[in-house]
């Protein structure tokens, strides 16, 4: 089951990110995970939020370029080497990771990982077979 990530185009100018987060806060949208890829000119904000359709709607109506992107969520035990095991499983299966970001889950002792790959189903299968829990 792929997770729908919120993806937004953020111009690289002062105050832009604050505006975006304020809009989400005002709408009561909770940010679970967040990552920003940036260049000198623009950034791409990627987030896992409590309500993706709602967040997209709020941002779109304020003129922000948004889309939802299916990504893979995987739960890791919070201990050294765990991420490396997950990535090794994907690598062996020939699955290329375009980007990833991780965050500590609410449950103590585990960390959640968001992965962007070409083929979500294949990645999920590989990770499951390697003993990981997909979220």
């Amino acid at each position: 089951m792929a997770i729908q990530q919120l993806t937004a185009f953020v111009e690289n100018r002062r105050g832009r990110l604050v505006e975006l987060t304020r809009l989400l806060a005002a709408a009561g949208v909770d940010l679970r995970a967040l990552s920003i890829a940036d260049t000198q000119e623009f950034g791409i904000l990627r987030a896992i939020v409590s309500d993706t359709p709602k967040a997209m709607d709020i941002l779109r109506r304020s003129g922000v370029l948004v889309k939802s992107t299916p990504v893979v969520g995987v739960r890791l035990t919070d201990r050294p080497g765990e991420l490396s095991l997950a990535l090794a499983a994907l690598d062996e299966a020939g699955i290329n990771v375009e980007y990833l970001y991780a965050f500590l889950a609410v449950t103590p002792g585990v960390a959640d990982l968001v992965l962007r790959v070409q083929d979500n189903d294949a990645a999920e299968r590989v990770l499951r077979e390697a003993g990981f829990e997909i979220i």
Binding site: T7, F9, F42, R46, G63, V64, K67
Partner: protein, 435 residues
Amino acid sequence: MQTYYQKEIETMPPEKLRALQDEKLVRQVRHVWDHVPYYRAKMEAAGVTPEDICGVRDLHKLPFLSKADLRDTYPYGMLAVPLADCVRIQSTSGTTGKRVIAYYTQHDIDLWEDCCARAIVAAGGTKEDVVQVCYGYGLFTGGAGLHGGSHKVGALTLPMSSGNTERQLQFMMDLKSTILCCTPSYAAYIGEAMAEKGIKPEENCLKAGIFGAEPWTEEMRRGIEKSLGIKAYDIYGLTETSGPGVAFECEYQNGMHINEDHFIAEIIDPDTGEVLPDGQKGELVFTSLDKEAFPLLRYRTRDICVLDRTPCPCGRTHVRMAKPMGRSDDMLIIRGVNVFPSQIETVLLQEGYAPNYRIEIDRVNNSDTFDVYVELLPEQFSDTVSAITAMERKLGDALRIMLGISPKVHLVAPRSIERSEGKAKRVIDKRKLHE
């Protein structure tokens, strides 16, 4: 069925039209000689008197007028009637230097509005139509011209002026506008706004649009026609000659018929001033034939274009001018290469972008920088940086092939490029080459 606003004039046999021009030109030259000392001095310097001008064939003997002449004689140096006989002033947008102002008697206004009425009727307008005029009202000639033309046709005229797109859309839908008059960039913007609101092209009552006051391409025309579900007609004019309506398109969209009973068009070599034969590309020059307050003899428009005298299936006999291929004064020279903004627009449309762009040129360390800012369309947005930079590279390559120089392309968020709701300000040249 073909309809005309002034059938007899619009379909007048060419030889008869020429005779009319001969007769009017003699009178117009005499009027200028008698009442405009500035131009009389030019004629005297060229050794020409009104007696030398017996008709159109003698036109080439007259000296040219340019925008510089109009600036030098600002405000009333070209006035050919007592100011008390004038009823109106209009002015150019004048982004650089002194504005040019034009003055009109009631007779001049009537002729101008007739020209606009011809354009509206050629676009299918009748008294049953609802004409939404969203050219700027005020000093700009766009609003006043089409407004007056629409009244002459007897259509219901909505004097919206430019801007407030929300209200434009509401009136357009509620009052069932059938003809839209504005700049092509604003028409494209209205199309976008409509799509954003989820209004489909077939849900509006528009059938035609009359768009002018700025250069636009065929690709842009097709885009507007599709997004608004209309037929888009080009209209041409300039404040100096009265305003829009000097030339207009008929349903064949194959060049704009110049109202030759009011204006003589010539094409000249912009460098030598020599008159070029029909069909050759050069600078368009206009001579007014029956203006009272602000007659202009051989006014150089700086628009580069071509005249076409082949018969038009619409039945109008007046010569057609091609869409200007660029103004000799909006041409940019970047790193020694001639660049027309319309070329950039063409590439953007070919590459699937909206024609919303801004060019910035600067000179850093004696070398020109050339940046093109282009809005991303929602469907082009990718979640990876590499995909977006690859798109920038691809667009940069396409521009380099078209222009011969490489711009730096910046993809920016939709709607982040400022749209003036009148003329689009697309070029920011920071080099100050002319100061």
